[in-house]
Amino acid sequence: MLDEKKKPLVQVKNLKMHFPINRGILKRQVGAVKAVDGISFDVFEGETLGLVGESGCGKSTVGRCVLRLYEVTEGSIDIDGTDIATLSGAELRAKRPEMQMIFQDPQASLNPRMTVGSIISEPLDEHLNMSKAEKREKVGELMDAVGLARRFADRYPHEFSGGQRQRIGIARALALNPKFIVCDEPIAALDVSIQAQVVNLLEDLQEKLGLTYLFISHDLSMVRHLATRVAVMYLGRLVELGDSETLYMTPKHPYTQALLSAVPHPDPAQAGNIDRVILQGDVPSPANPPPGCTFSTRCPRAEAVCKQNSPEWREIGEGHFAACHFIE
């Protein structure tokens, strides 16, 4: 790996996103759901950073914060040298073309009242001054790029299958030639055969256009296949981040170990031989996370120190980070 040559395109530092909880007649703030609680990571140019974790751990919130679809509580998000966490409306709008998003539910992310052509050309309408013919041509090119026939431009989203709808969403995200795309579980709502097609399409596009992805998913095998590096999240914090191969072969953090041991084995005969780490209990509420290490309530290796001190996020190997007291 030529790690020295790579430069980070996206630098997230100490990102926090707390959603206030308001109760009572006066709607006073009585607490906050700490969906994302102080995470830092870099995404290098041209790579795919996989972000995995179980449901409700804040993966999607991170994705949305990174594009500033939410007003972040704290922290900085540098994309290509600009901190977008503090940009004002007009500056942010001018920055939008560089960063785009592909959504989880292709049905919900397309306006049912708009034709495919007008959905794909919405970014063009907003940011570029193109004539009608130019727009039509550009929409055609985008549809070619994602493998949709041009004649579908006048159809409506409900006339398409799930996979085709996701292609429409991808074409829309590509319209402004972005550098950085957040893929928020783009394959979770598709069936397996279509998942492969969409993932291959994403890979092809990355190769052709030099895209950088933040790939959010709970499908560990798909992330292993697609991602250069992988970050593991638990209850609003990162627990481990490292090269995809290193992390999958030698997971250090107990949570990562448990998570990876849950991946089903393709060979049923071998499946019985895996050492599964079965976690006890449920994920604590992000509105009231446990003191110290957030994973301490379920960790098989937890000791007294885990319940008091939050473990430091530190480098434990070449480009391999983790937050645990017991990793040397």
Binding site: M101, S109, M114, P123, L176
Partner: protein, 304 residues
């Protein structure tokens, strides 16, 4: 790739949006019948008075309280006014009041509903305002408004236009609340959908998110409110006339004719039947048109 069948020859014409809407609308039988009836009524009240040239205010005292005849197809009232001429003349005012008041309440209701639903900061203020209007007792309010403004408006715009503006305004500002509430609810639900988030991530400003993504998706409830609104407006105007607060007595409207007729319903049922039929047909046809339009504007229903 199985889902990208690429036909090289595609000789279908490009579909235009309004072409699709029109063909779907045409396939809705109720809407087509409704349109014909409504157009017939519109034409009748627009050019009818030129063809049936009897003056609606000419009192033919020798022919009072007549039934239907060739000379007076709809009969005459207790002063000898020709009912057909009165219904035609009254329709002009009733339909004009109905349409304008509906438009006013729709615009007001949609505007307030969208603002309240989309901008969280305005929500509390606007919806409490809506509640306030809902809680106002309508009739005393009408009395006060009419007492206060009738003469001023009459002096400014003449007796007919003045009272027309006043009535449209009154009906408009007392009937927008339901629309506002329905629209707000729909906007709230719509705002959480991912395509709104997608528009935000593109950088579409709020005003275009509203016009491009929100408005087309709340058309159905607006359409329903609109068609019901016309009916309510015509009927409210009738009750105002009944209370003597509407148009002056020499300007017949359907509502006024109906209420004048009710006193002599036993002797001359035709005096109630014709204006009643006109109101019912108008309301019914407009409802059907609204139904058809709603279906035609929804791409998911279109083509079925």
């Amino acid at each position: 790739m199985t889902d990208t069948t690429n036909d090289a020859t595609d000789d279908r014409k490009y579909r235009s949006l309004w072409g699709d809407v029109w063909s779907q609308f045409r396939s809705h039988r109720g809407a087509m019948i409704g349109s014909f009836v409504f157009i017939f009524i519109l034409l009748a009240v627009a050019i009818g008075p030129y063809l049936w040239t009897l003056d609606p205010n000419y009192a033919d005292v020798r022919n009072r309280n007549q039934g239907m005849s060739w000379g007076h197809p709809f009969g005459t009232d207790q002063l000898g006014h020709d009912m057909l001429a009165q219904v035609l003349q009254g329709g002009r005012i009733s339909i004009a009041v109905g349409l304008t008041a509906m438009m006013l309440s729709l615009v007001l209701g949609t505007f307030i509903g969208v603002l309240a639903g989309y901008f969280k900061r305005l929500d509390g203020l606007l919806m409490r305002g809506t509640d306030l209007f809902l809680a106002l007792p309508i009739l005393p309010l009408l009395l006060v408004i009419i007492m206060l403004f009738r003469d001023t408006l009459r002096n400014m715009f003449g007796p007919e236009t003045g009272i027309f503006i006043l009535i449209v305004f009154i009906i408009g500002i007392t009937s927008w609340m339901q629309t506002a509430r329905i629209v707000r609810g729909d906007v709230l639900a719509l705002k959480e959908r991912e395509f709104i988030l997608a528009a935000n991530s593109i950088g579409t400003p709020s005003k275009r998110v509203i016009s491009r993504h929100i408005m087309p998706n709340i058309l159905s409830p607006i359409m329903v409110s609109a068609t019901l609104g016309i009916a309510t407006a015509i009927i409210t105007e009738s009750s105002l006339s009944f209370l003597g607060l509407g148009f002056p007595s020499d300007f017949p409207t359907w509502g006024r004719l109906l209420f004048d007729g009710t006193q002599r319903i036993a002797q001359a049922p035709s005096r109630v039947i014709w204006p009643g039929l006109a109101i019912s047909l108008t309301v019914l046809s407009v409802n059907f048109i609204g139904d058809g339009l709603r279906d035609a504007l929804d791409p998911r229903i279109r083509g079925r």
